[in-house]
Symmetry: C2
Subunit: 459 residues, 2 copies
């Protein structure tokens, strides 16, 4: 393959094209745990959609694989570049183009981080409600993985909050899909097809996101349960009550112990209760008025007690915030504790007890362990897998994913399959669906330059 | 083309395959206004996905076009069959297979009507919240058109309420997409691609829909405004308030007059106010408790007055119900009044005043008229177009759609392009997007048997 440095430099300018050793180490990986870093051959930082289009045309013409990168905090390896490839970083396309209060949308470039978008919208009393664990994540990355996070139980996932895109096809065509509109039924929904496609179909260069009103008052109730099944049985009851929690998480006792020690949390739960309980349910409520919030908190506390909770603790502002932040950083706790892999499997939420107990049994049988927490309202289980033997770990992961699928779930609820989970996806998914997805991929990307390997594996 | 009667009969049984004159008139059309009825060559009523698969394989092998039909109440002609084609009716696949309260989903066959699904879920305090105007519409039809309706402002459109499908590909493969899961990021989202594809990609044979808790208490506030722009300016304020109306509709004065007379409505609005106002905003609120409902109704009333409403009328139960039902049947009122066509264009909601005034001007200039009502919270404008000259009407429709698209909107918000709006879609949409959609269509349906003509026009 010819050296493309000059070609790509001509497009983005010398200052915005790095190659070889000049590429910083940070661009060689995302936060996926298992794969070694891999630098790309080229790193381009385009400033405009037209530059992205020219990069993709040049890459198509010369068969250069292209990987898109937001903040590099993905957990499945979808932003890990190819050694002979071009990494397109959206560092410079990081403007909030518009906060449109009448339509309750923001128009942003893909490199905007959630922290930046939050700052740009807070004064309007509006917000982008997708909160994956990492506030430094980019909106473009959220689009790529179809990010979820704790607030999905009320506000939905990225898919539900992305209304439109400007996207560059691998052929260099720049299209606009959807828009500042709440609904559309005019041809196929290209927005929804691109969301969650992990950079394999098109590169988003502009994103229209939905904003929701920020409700001023919030509080959290933490309920320890002796029996894990009771935690799960409580979830549909709480959701059916109309209380509309914006966070509904379970945290198992081992993970809670890790959070308490690493985050220096003071939750006011007596040791005796902590020692005896199997898991916690965290219910966060928000409201327009303090009166309603107090009422809802009381109702939630009563419900939780009736549903078998040992007690229900209303967390004060800072304790609640620390616990939620700690929960968001559970991945880092898992990493620090020496997890060998992570999963973010989704199952029908009523199947969580069966999934969790069986998965733990599988892990124990493999000489390892599986602990975690998760989005109880969504059936989205985050587990840290400890299993030092690589072959056993691979089999264990495969068995856990197969179990999830038998229960009607899927391998990934929000991280995507990326590079790390693609082998399991190809092993376990219906071949008819994989073949159909390959044909869809082909319809976007005939030269197969966009993130080859991701979703479909290496040829 | 050979006579396929025997082939199709073998699959579904003699009793469930009609051909020629034996096919009832009702199967020759949906509710689209402009096209003449067209009977298919064959009408099959399969009972199972496997029969649907065999029908599609036979149709692919023999090049027979296939149109799917739910209740036949679509408004864009997507269920109008081809003269040499097979119409697949889901009359017999009309079972509610499961109401799963723990996962808050229902699993239904495509022929189930919304009335039937409502009856099956009401005792659980849960409901499928997509309410297009027609309660006799089928869930399969909702999937095909990505149906919306008045409650979309709170509960979203069909796309947001369809979690999974069993679908038959034109190749005869039966796949399952999504499931009883709230989120998934594992390969491309085939569910969302099939939803809204108007029977051109695959036929849904089972649908997993989301159920929401039914809030027990509701009330409606009707606010007349002298100035139409004030109606539209009020909308974002109400949505940003956190009041979360489940219906937020505007009704122009001519449509309201038609509703009042055809529905025999008693709204308690003095004639003087009715005569002086340009449009009404209807705000329906619901709550877990009567106290909160009263409070919210009061807040809404105060807000509406501050935002320029002449008054705010809290409608009693039966008056509110009749008005909402009347609004749902606005299409029939338009039809009865001699509308020559209808549109359901969507624009960014802040662009509605500009869109409406310009569209009315275009209609007047063409010697016709444009009146209506719409989903104010969604920017989804329903207009009855009166314009007797067919050529002028065609130009007028094209001009109105072009206007909507210039404002960042789309031709159809919820009816789909079907047969009726496809010529405009092909004329006005970005050719790069149409070409991409054609390639996606090809990736599902290489023999081009599923609803040819719809979305892409006749070759």
């Amino acid at each position: 393959m010819s050296d493309m440095t000059a070609v790509f430099s001509d497009i983005v300018g010398d200052n915005n094209l790095l190659s070889g050793d000049a590429i910083p180490e940070d661009y060689a990986h995302d936060e996926e745990l298992t794969a070694p870093p891999q630098k790309p051959a080229y790193l381009a930082k385009p400033a405009r959609a037209e530059e992205v289009a020219q990069l993709l045309v040049a890459a198509s013409d010369h068969g250069v694989p292209v990987t898109a990168r937001g903040s590099g905090c993905g957990l499945s390896g979808a932003a890990r570049p190819q050694p002979n490839g071009l990494l397109v970083s959206f560092d410079r396309m990081n403007a909030v183009l518009e906060v449109d209060t009448a339509n309750q949308v923001a128009v942003v470039q893909p490199g905007v981080t959630l922290t930046e978008l939050d700052a740009a919208t807070v004064d309007y009393g509006l917000g982008y409600m997708v909160h994956p664990g990492e506030a430094s994540s980019s909106v473009g990355g959220n689009v790529g993985t179809n990010a979820g996070g704790m607030r999905a139980v009320k506000y939905g996932i990225a898919r539900h909050n992305v209304l439109g895109l400007q996207a560059v096809l691998p052929t260099g065509e720049i299209i606009r899909t959807g828009g500042k509109i709440a609904k559309v039924s005019t041809g196929y929904d290209l927005t929804q097809l691109i969301v969650g496609s992990e950079g394999t179909l098109a590169l988003a260069t502009e994103v229209v996101v939905k904003l929701h009103p920020r409700l001023e008052h919030n509080a959290s109730v933490l309920a320890p349960f002796v029996d894990f099944d009771q935690v799960m049985a409580a979830v549909p009851k709480i959701l059916a009550s109309g209380l509309t929690p914006y966070i509904l998480e379970y945290i198992d006792n081992m993970t809670m112990a890790a959070l308490i020690s690493t985050q220096d949390l003071e939750l006011g739960i007596p040791d005796k209760i902590r020692d005896s309980c199997a898991a916690y349910l965290l219910v966060a409520l928000e409201s327009r008025t303090t009166d309603r919030l107090f009422e809802d908190v009381e109702t939630a506390g009563e419900m939780l007690s009736e549903l078998g909770a040992v007690d229900a603790y209303v967390l004060e502002g800072s304790a609640a915030r620390k616990l939620i932040e700690g929960r968001e950083r559970a991945f880092w706790a898992a990493k620090a504790l020496g997890a060998d892999d992570i999963i973010d499997t989704v199952v029908p939420r009523a199947s969580m007890p069966k999934f969790l107990s069986t998965a733990r049994g599988l892990a124990a049988a493999a000489g390892g362990g599986a602990v975690g927490c998760g989005h109880a309202g969504d059936g989205n289980v985050h587990m840290a897998i400890v299993c030092k033997d690589p072959d056993k770990k691979k089999q264990l992961m495969s068995d856990i994913f197969a179990l999830a699928m038998e229960l009607g779930g899927a391998i990934s609820g929000e991280h995507g399959v990326g590079r790390a989970k693609t082998p399991y996806f190809l092993e376990l998914e219906d071949p008819a669906k994989i073949a159909l997805m390959r044909r869809i991929k082909q319809s976007f990307d005939p030269a197969n330059i966009l993130n080859p390997g991701v979703v479909f594996g290496d040829a």
